[in-house]
Amino acid sequence: MASSNITLVAGSPGAGKTTWISQFLTDQSQDLFYLCPGMGRDSVDLVRIGYRFPWVSVIPENQAQTVLAGLPRQAQVYLELGFHLDLASPLLATLPCQRVAVLPPSLNQSEWHDWADEVIPGNDIQDAGRDPLPELWRSPLTGQVFDPPSLDELLIELTGGAYGKVMRLKGIFEMPDGRAFHIDFVQGLPGIEYTELNLPRWLQGRPNRFSGLEVVGHHLEQETISKTLLASCLADDVLAQYQHQYQRLHPDEETKEVFSI
């Protein structure tokens, strides 16, 4: 345990915590662990790290204690702390670790500065502070497949403030051609980032893998967001039509994908 390296990473939403951690997760020669306490099992970050770096052990919250107690020698552990987590929590205080805060360069003073051993300059965004603490709203969507132009429209409205002030938005969304995308928005940075996930195309009915939306902001109209999300999803018969059409156009890929699922 003593020889393992634990790094706690905290900072304002959208400053780039996950991005900063990701650069250390490419080294497959080490035992790598990633945790994101306070986010349950199905957080977008947790799932995405698992997809991008399959060699990293992604530890769900309920196994954190056990895993941390029995770490292999030389293990590298990255613990990402959500903005809503109390930095003075006893769990964090007892861990022998390196504390890193990823913060907007324009932020010169904060409780993160007092807490961290090292401050990393992240995205140059306005730090909205924690007073009042923003809301975190999550909507797991597993099995839902989106009408792509409806999803685009919804994301433009959401990030444009139609359903409350959105500071941060991330999600994993399923498309009718079987692909899944990671979507990332940070208030103050230009545009909405779409990244295709390296996953087999899901062309047999509703995808049985995690997808979902996470929004951080103020005065979020959660019920309206939920309704609009569902209105953007495809009905069973429409999804079946799309999948059938795709398989007809790409017969080779179909066989390959059926084996890989």
């Binding site: 009408d147 132009p149 409806s150 685009d152 429209e153 919804l154 409205e157 444009g160 139609a162 309206t224 609009t228 209105a231 953007s232 495809l234």
Partner: protein, 270 residues
């Protein structure tokens, strides 16, 4: 003579009032309206009453037709499933509040209006639902103007104003008759114009301001007018009337509520 041509008011009474005041200030002699008096906005009956009380010659728009005949929007109208759901909601709401005599009036509106070498339509001469987009193929665009037997074709329906000159079109036709050599024939078509006048009540040009067009029949000069108005009042009325609140958010940004065409090659079959 100075004409003012307006279109696509969509139940937005505030915007219509502001445009009528501007037309007054510009000293136009005659107003023409290209339809879509109702749909989306909170005051369909009041808008129709105003247009009727001023005796403004008006063509039938796609929404006016749908309120008379039942929803018949072309699949090219909706950019997404979400937009289609919203479009249907707006149609049902309008259908439920419209007065019987307003419906009767909308049924009497003609497809096209003519004034000398000018023709007025909502979408295109062949359909209220067809979009004449500025990027439409030049030959197809010219065909629409020629089919209207006009030099200038005024249209709306896309909600984004533009003026398109179809200049010096040379049409070449090869005529092959039995026992004769092929003889190419040339037709020279003089300058024709498509003038899209935009939208009074549901603009889609990225700003909330109403748009319409002034046309001088003596000089053939087209002037595009953009008129600011108190859109917050319309937004409030959208919320009060129980229309989808997202319409208010989109109106304030000059974004389409639901329908939007983006395929210039699509030919509406209705």
């Amino acid at each position: 003579m100075k004409l003012a041509v307006i279109s696509c008011i969509h139940g937005n009474y505030e915007a219509l009032n502001a445009v009528l005041s501007d037309i007054d200030a510009q000293k136009a002699d005659q107003i023409y309206c290209l339809g879509d008096l109702v749909g989306y906005g909170p005051y369909p009956n009041a808008v129709v009453e105003m247009i009727r009380s001023l005796d403004i010659p008006t063509c039938q728009g796609c929404w006016d037709e749908d309120i008379v005949e039942g929803l018949n929007a072309c699949e090219c109208s909706y950019p997404s499933q979400l937009a289609e759901t919203r479009g249907r909601l707006a149609h049902e709401w309008t259908n439920s509040v419209i007065h019987p005599e307003v419906r009767e009036y909308l049924a009497t509106l003609p497809m096209t209006l003519k004034l000398d070498n000018l023709c007025f339509v909502h979408g295109s001469p062949s359909s209220q639902h067809e979009y004449l987009l500025p990027s439409m193929d030049g030959f197809a665009a010219l065909e629409r103007v020629l089919s209207a037997d006009a030099d200038v074709l005024f249209c709306g329906h896309t909600h984004v104003p533009y003026v398109r000159d179809l200049e010096d079109a040379a049409l070449s036709v090869n005529v092959q008759q039995p026992d004769q050599t092929e003889s190419p024939k040339q037709f020279q078509v003089a300058l024709r114009q498509i003038v899209n006048v935009g939208s009074v009540g549901e603009p889609r040009h990225g700003r909330p301001n109403a748009t319409y067009v002034l046309y001088d029949t003596d000089t053939a000069q087209v002037t595009l007018r953009e008129v600011p108005y108190d859109y917050a009042k319309t937004c409030l009325a959208i919320l009060e009337q129980g229309l989808p609140p997202i319409f208010a958010w989109r109106l304030a940004r000059g974004m389409e509520f639901a329908e939007r065409a983006d395929d210039p090659t699509h030919v509406c079959e209705r």
